[in-house]
């Protein structure tokens, strides 16, 4: 068992923190870490991450974890990934999915769409890793970690608007 993230602790130790709707609880259990963590290794899901340099990193992920959890727990070396700890304040966990997998990923919230708008070069199959839960059907999928930022140390970057 890995330690629970601070957020989940909030809800375990002080359940009445939840004063609202049953629906909200539904959304929570649908999206986040809802499965038991004590799974045998054969229940794990193989996921390939292609990093920003094009290198492939293969991991065994636990169903129910978010892809951000996977990156953190497996210590994948992706600089700046998941800066806001999955609280939908940034888009640094931007991932690009294969089209077939993308279709199976489930609904996207307005807040996630707003954050994707602010990601660096989003595509039609982009999602935020913190919002995607690992599922058995994703066995063997490949996700691309796109560039997150232009290199501001290069002098030609950022000149796009300097003509005005």
């Amino acid at each position: 068992m890995k330690p629970a993230r601070p957020g989940s602790r909030a809800h375990n130790s002080l359940t009445p923190y939840v004063t609202g709707h049953r629906d909200a609880a539904c959304i929570r259990s649908r999206q986040f870490s809802c499965y038991t963590r004590t799974l045998r290794s054969e229940d794990k899901v193989t996921i390939h991450f292609i990093n920003r340099d094009g290198l492939k990193m293969t991991v065994k992920a636990t169903p129910g974890d978010s892809l951000l959890d996977v990156v953190i727990d497996q210590n994948l070396d992706l600089d700046g990934f998941g800066a806001c700890e999955g609280t939908l304040a940034c888009s640094t966990c931007h991932l690009i999915f294969e089209e077939e997998v993308f279709k199976t990923l489930g609904p996207i919230t307005d807040e996630e769409m707003d954050m994707l708008d602010l990601s660096y070069k989003p595509t039609d199959t982009s999602r935020l890793g913190c919002q995607i839960c690992v599922h058995k059907s994703q066995e063997g999928m490949t996700v691309h970690v796109p560039e997150s930022v232009a290199d501001l140390r290069q002098p030609d970057v950022g000149t796009t608007s300097s003509s005005s």
């Binding site: 130790s13 707003d114 608007s161």
Partner: protein
């Protein structure tokens, strides 16, 4: 925990990378003024030698980055006249626009000893924010820190920097940043909205026409204060009652003092300590208003703390919300909790109320737009149904209304960043330690970013489908990234729920008493005159 460790690891690695990058820049540029380990000084472009820019050969590009010396901008004298003589402080948002038209989308200005590089370009703003590290710095918070040191107080999320900030942010964002965590506050907020609607009816009865609410911001101020405190202190304050409790009145007075003295307290930080005996007022007022704010938070935090202790002593289960969680888990010290409650309350009241006031004003000015939003609400909710967070996604125009209001009247017309590494932006090399001003007011009213920029069009934010992307770095009223507004989701919920119910219940009309209301900068972008509106019953 793993995440925090990872962040720290990345932070340390970035520091070493930073040093490495700097070394290569140094080699290329022959030398550089500041070193990575030291707190960066205010950038002094005039003091820097001419040959400090990386040569084209060193960077492998044909066009070398230009120095800050070459960056256009108003001179110091004209800035002094503009701001001190012509009271430019209340027109900062307009000056921002004028200067960017005159000097380009990146320009420099001087405010006394402080050099500021203003960026009024959507793409450059995006580049700067995407490049930021794990503990971005907004501005020099020395005067805030000085007050806290003097009184033995902790810093909070606004005033803290570096690791202190990272630690507190990490705790607080887990409680109030995820939309689904905030959604559970719908019922609490709706209880406040119900009081707001009742209060509208009470207030309009006092006017001869039986319809007008005078200075609607005063009402929204109390709504926002009630909303924030029901979430943060887990307690109602009675701000929307006919007779407001004395304690809440005192707090409202402290907040008003904070804002009315904002201009002078801005000088409080700018006036050197040795000058204070000669110009004592700004610093005195600054301290006085902070005293009031801290006192209020402390009363409420202490009350909750003794409640918890009493329950524990009686062997009862402790249940509660955000404050209870913080007090029970002790992830932050009590002083840190006081400071954060104080700073979050300060940040979460007038920001929300101004935005609600502008929204209502815009709805009143645009009856056809209001009608379309009303029809959407009617289509989505049953008659008299009280909306909750889960209903909002089905009313894209309500979200569009808030976004469009904040585009036209970004409550923070500009945001600050102090660069933590050397950046090339807009073709200029900006050394680490430079104060940047991100000009949100200019970018959100830029015709290139938003066609028909001065028009009120909530529809522009409605997506055709989930892959319909809006490149909206032009309007980021809550900021972006790790140091963006922590109260964003709470504020959105408060505004969505209040606006939906107001639109549901009333047709909102401009009162003949209201002249054209223009924005004014007073720390924040505020309505320059009272907004008086008529609330006519729908039915």
């Amino acid at each position: 925990m793993a995440l925090v460790k990872k962040m720290l690891h990345l932070y340390l690695r970035r520091l070493s990378e930073k040093a490495e990058n700097r070394r290569s820049l140094l080699r290329a540029a022959a030398f550089h003024k500041h070193s990575a380990g030291q707190p960066p000084p205010a950038a002094e472009e005039n003091a820097l030698p001419e040959n400090r820019v990386p040569s084209a050969a060193a960077t492998g590009r044909d066009t070398p980055a230009k120095t800050l010396n070459e960056m256009p901008g108003p001179n110091t004298i004209s800035n002094i006249i503009e701001f001190f003589y012509r009271d430019g402080f209340s027109r900062i948002h307009e000056i921002q626009q004028q200067h960017s038209k005159k000097y380009g989308r990146i320009f420099k200005s001087r405010f006394g000893p402080q050099l500021v590089v203003s960026i009024a370009d959507r793409d450059m703003v995006a580049e700067v924010l995407r490049a930021e590290g794990v503990a971005p710095q907004r501005a020099n918070m020395e005067s805030w820190k000085e007050y806290r040191d003097m009184r033995g107080r902790s810093t909070g999320l606004i005033s803290a920097e570096g690791e202190d900030w990272m630690k507190m942010r990490s705790v607080l964002r887990q409680l109030i940043m995820r939309p689904r965590d905030v959604a559970v506050f719908s019922d609490d907020i709706n209880a406040v909205v119900a009081d707001l609607v009742t209060r509208v009816c009470q207030l309009r009865r006092k006017q001869p026409d039986g319809l007008t609410v005078l200075n609607v911001n005063d009402l929204f101020f109390k709504y926002a204060m009630e909303g924030v405190s029901v979430i943060m202190y887990e307690q109602r304050l009675g701000c929307l009652e006919e007779r407001i409790p004395q304690q809440s009145l005192e707090y409202i007075a402290a907040l008003h003092l904070m804002f009315s003295s904002f201009k002078t307290s801005m000088y409080a930080g700018a006036i050197p300590v040795w000058l204070r005996p000669f110009i004592p007022k700004p610093w005195r007022e600054f301290c006085h208003s902070w005293d009031g704010l801290f006192k209020f938070s402390q009363i409420h935090v202490d009350r909750k703390l003794s409640e918890i202790r009493a329950r524990l002593a009686a062997g009862e289960e402790v249940k509660g919300g955000m404050l209870t969680y913080l007090l029970v888990t002790k992830e932050m010290t009590v002083e840190e909790i006081y400071a954060n409650m104080t700073e979050m309350l300060l940040a979460g009241v007038d920001t929300t109320s101004f935005t609600l006031s502008w929204s209502i004003y815009l709805l009143a000015l645009h009856p056809q737009v209001q009608q379309r939003i009303y029809e959407e609400v009617e289509r989505t909710l049953r008659p008299g149904q009280v909306p909750v967070s889960e209903d909002i996604p089905r009313m894209p125009l309500i979200r569009g209304l808030v976004k469009e209001t904040l585009r036209l009247f970004p409550v923070l017309p500009g945001n600050g960043r102090i660069t933590q590494k050397d950046l090339v932006v807009g073709g200029y090399l900006i050394p680490a330690g430079t104060q940047l001003a991100l000009c949100h007011y200019s970018t959100s009213l830029d015709e290139e970013n938003f066609p028909g920029a001065t028009e009120f069009q909530p529809e522009r934010w409605v997506r055709k489908d989930a892959t319909d992307r809006v490149d909206n770095f032009g309007s980021i009223p809550f900021g972006y990234g790790i140091r963006s507004c922590i109260g964003r989701r709470i504020a959105e919920l408060e505004m969505h729920l209040a606006l939906t119910q107001l639109i549901q219940n009333f047709r909102i009309q401009v009162s003949p008493l209201t002249q054209v209301v223009r924005p004014k900068t007073h720390g924040l972008l505020t309505p320059g005159a009272p907004i008086n509106v008529q609330f006519v019953d729908r039915l």
